[in-house]
Amino acid sequence: PHFIIELPGRNDSLCFNINNAPGTIFNLVRDPEAGVFVNGQIIGDKKIPPDGKINTYFWRFGIVHQTLGVSLLVTTQYISVSQDGKDAKLLWTDTGSLKGPNVDVVVTKDGSLTVTLKDSVKFVILLHKVWKKHPYHRDYLGFYTLDTHLLSPSVHGLLGQFYHGIEYEVTDLRPGESPEKPDATMFAKGHQLNVTRGWQRDFRRDVKNGDNVPCWFIHNNGSGLIDGAAADYVVSSLF
């Protein structure tokens, strides 16, 4: 899966890929102070494609708000919401909504899920439907955090560590391997990184084709941009 960190204040975006063995669960957001945790599990293609490149995508997310007593399990099939011991299940095949004292959930049929957790965070999960008989690919999910301003300063995780901004500088723009994608040097978090200008897709407006977001691409699983290594974010379970 690809990560995009949009920085409208700088009129720019950063992006990187994180890949690992299918089945791996990554921590995306971790805010013990606010009690918010988001973990996601990746899945691989049905079989190894002819080019030998194994694609991985997120297919399940576990979301917990400890303080509010809310948890959600979002898979490519259904959405399960649990609050104070009461469970509710929604299917992607129907448009529906749930309005609780602490959580609002809105599902549009085979499209998107919007979750608003009271006084903390708002996010959207997109369902990418793939033709059932596709020889390699299968359905997968995208996770978009829209409003994070109420999370604590200590929020972390693969996405969470960027919620309060990031300082970086880009210099030494030079031709890259592809004429359309120049390379440059980025200084971020005390590291000097070789980055490439590229594009990644934001699917919120057009779930089929996406919109190209120009961004600085950080190689090697975001090494140097993310704190530590991707392996540091592997957790044992969704909850």
Binding site: F3, I4, F58, T145, Y163, E169, V213
Partner: protein, 633 residues
């Protein structure tokens, strides 16, 4: 973080009591009044800011501040004279210029004044604009960014269109499911009322927090019923305005040569977006159309020697060719455009093009010519001489490095127009939209004729084309105020026959149509005429001989002062109350030209320290707040 803390402390001491936007549209002429009242709750004096954004096609007509019962009113002055007044302020380091470019469609007007403890201030800004019909509708764009919760917030729009409204839509970029039902829309046959007035609780981003949901664009789109024959003419208070856009006219086939810059500076996103747009545009060509593709850097390369009929097979072939265009080399605009002109002329002479069809060149370029003829005056002269008034030239200037003025003048000298294409992820759509606007000519060489003895000071009444979805507007003054009607004639060249219609214009009785609201309209038609005349004079001041330019400029200035319009030739000066050191400091509202907007964008800080700017297009913008996402490829 420190800055944010300071701002929030200041904001807590300043309460915005009300923000109201009142927009009245009559015959496409929009008069908007933005009013904001703020209270300084602190026990010391505070600086209070008034930041608003207005459409760049609008002219500011008034600005006032009321402080402690005293009203400070703006006066429109000649720019040079106003400059002298604020030179002192500039030399002492104070900011005098208040209007800045803000994105593609808007300009930002900012004022700040020092307000005594426990006092309030009322800011009132008025601006006017003639709404343009594009792709079959008019658009009213109101940008609201109150930054904090407002006790009384209201947007109220009244539209009066005597022709009758065919549809009215209202939406806003910040509307959630909760706010949506608060948009009230009442549409009658000839008038519409749209209002939006959320309470403080409804504005709140989340329960208990101070953030506001109201941040973005409130957009109203509408169209009027189209009139057969001569169109719609209104005579009000000694002025007339004529709207011409008849329904159901067949389109005239076109012969279009796409001249595409593929020089090195187009590399990367711009080239990719150009290819994508070309493929989509080619797909939209009508089978009756003829087209050609010319790509250029320092060399000129034609897809085919002559124009090709837009059959499915030819379009498919052309799309493959368009996909193969790659960036390379320098920029020879002169030869590329001349080759396009030559190709159209050759095919005309050889009778390869339909007799009744329109010839046009669409030039897409991102930079200054630096190969072949590079003197822009010489290029303009060469192109004007080659075209000889026989075809239209449309120019698309891609990005911030292009000399827009050069393209603007060259287009206007050749019956066309120029448009800026902003470097962003939607550039492909911008290119397509522009093409769509000019893709369907309905009439050529349109003349609107009025009796000489009945009218004078008539705005431009000859138009090279009428495009589907657009509208021709002409206004003028009646020489005889007692005139009750006059004869109007419209002539043009249509698809099969010459177009010729006549009609009678009658004085419109607003008292009958809008009996309860006649007081609103006042001098709307006269101001519409003045606005249109000034716009056209400003255009004329860019082309023609030195004398013609000077005359147009002088007349535009005179009218801007007479009608109190802040145009690129005038400034509005408001004298702020005395500052603590005992000096008055004038505030200045200016009007930017397209070149100044472009310059401002070039100077905008970028997210890198050095390197070629054309590598860094702006990211997709959905919301002002950042988005963090993870998704699959």
């Amino acid at each position: 973080t420190k800055v944010l803390q300071k701002r929030s402390t200041n904001e807590a001491m300043v309460e915005v009591l009300s923000v109201t936007v009142d927009c009245t549209v009559t015959n496409r002429f929009a008069h908007t009044v933005m009013t904001s009242v703020a209270l300084n709750k602190a026990n010391t004096s505070k600086e209070i800011f008034f930041d608003v954004e207005l459409p760049k096609s609008a002219f500011i007509t008034n600005f006032s501040m009321e402080i402690e019962g005293k009203v400070y009113v703006g006066n429109v002055k000649e720019k040079e004279k106003a400059k002298k007044q604020y030179e002192k302020a500039v030399s002492s380091g104070q900011t005098a210029g208040l209007v800045k470019a803000s994105g593609r469609k808007m300009e930002k007007f900012s004022v700040s004044v020092n307000i005594a403890a426990e006092s309030n201030v009322t800011f009132i800004l008025t601006y006017e604009e003639l709404l343009q019909r594009k792709l079959g509708q008019y658009e009213i764009l109101i940008r609201v960014k109150p930054k904090s919760l407002v006790e009384q917030f209201q947007i109220s729009t009244n539209i009066y269109e005597p022709q009758g409204l065919s549809h009215v839509d209202a939406h806003a970029t910040f509307l959630s499911n909760e706010l949506l039902p608060l948009v009230e829309k009442t549409v009658l046959e000839k008038k519409a009322h749209i209002s939006f007035s959320p309470t403080v609780e409804q504005q709140r981003k989340c329960p208990g927090c101070d953030g506001t949901l109201i941040d973005g664009d409130f957009i109203i789109k509408y169209d009027v019923n189209r009139q057969e024959s001569v169109g719609d003419i209104q005579i009000v208070n000694g002025y007339f305005v004529h709207f011409f856009a008849p329904p159901d006219l067949p389109r005239v086939p076109k012969n279009v040569v796409f001249v595409i810059d593929r020089s090195g500076s187009m590399s990367g996103t711009k080239m990719a977006q150009t290819r994508d747009a070309l493929v989509a545009i080619l797909e939209d060509l009508h089978e009756d159309d003829h087209f050609a593709l010319i790509q250029f850097d320092s060399a000129i390369l034609s897809w085919k020697e002559s124009l090709t009929k837009a059959t499915k097979e030819n379009v498919a072939e052309a799309k493959n060719y368009a996909r193969s265009i790659r960036d390379n080399g320098a920029t020879d605009i002169n030869q590329a455009v001349l080759d396009g002109v030559e190709m159209l002329k050759r095919d005309r002479q050889a009778n390869r093009l339909p007799e009744r069809s329109v010839d046009m060149i669409i030039l897409l370029t991102d930079g200054m010519p630096n190969s072949g003829v590079s003197d822009i005056r010489k290029i303009q002269e060469n192109v004007r001489s080659a075209v000889g008034g026989n075809m239209s030239l449309f120019c698309l200037g891609f990005g911030n490095d292009v000399d827009y003025n050069f393209l603007d003048v060259m287009s206007k000298e050749n019956k066309g127009l120029a448009r800026r294409i902003f470097e962003a992820s939607d550039a492909t759509l911008q290119l397509q939209d522009f093409y769509e606007e000019v893709a369907s000519p309905l009439l050529l060489e349109v003349d609107l004729v009025y009796p000489d003895n009945a009218v004078d000071y008539v705005t431009t009444s000859h138009f090279p084309q009428l495009f589907n979805g657009s509208e021709i507007v002409v206004a003028g003054r009646l020489t005889d105020n007692d005139l009750d009607n006059f004869l109007v004639e419209v002539l043009g060249q249509g698809f099969e026959d010459n177009y010729k219609v006549q009609g009678q214009a009658s004085v419109f009785d607003w008292n009958v149509m809008y009996p309860d609201e006649t007081y609103i309209f006042g001098d709307f038609t006269e101001r519409l005429w003045a606005y249109l005349t000034i716009q056209q004079l400003l255009e004329k001041s860019k082309t023609g001989t030195a004398d013609e330019k000077a005359n147009a400029t002088a007349k535009a200035l005179e009218m801007s002062l007479q009608y109190s319009f802040v145009t690129p030739l005038t400034s509005m000066v408001v004298t702020k109350p005395e500052t603590e050191d005992g000096t008055d400091s004038p505030l200045i509202a200016d009007k930017l030209t397209e070149e100044q907007r472009q310059q401002a964008e070039r100077l905008r800080p970028m997210a890198y320290s050095r390197g070629a700017s054309h590598f860094i297009p702006a990211p997709v913008q959905y919301a002002p707040s950042p988005v963090y996402l993870v998704d699959g490829d």
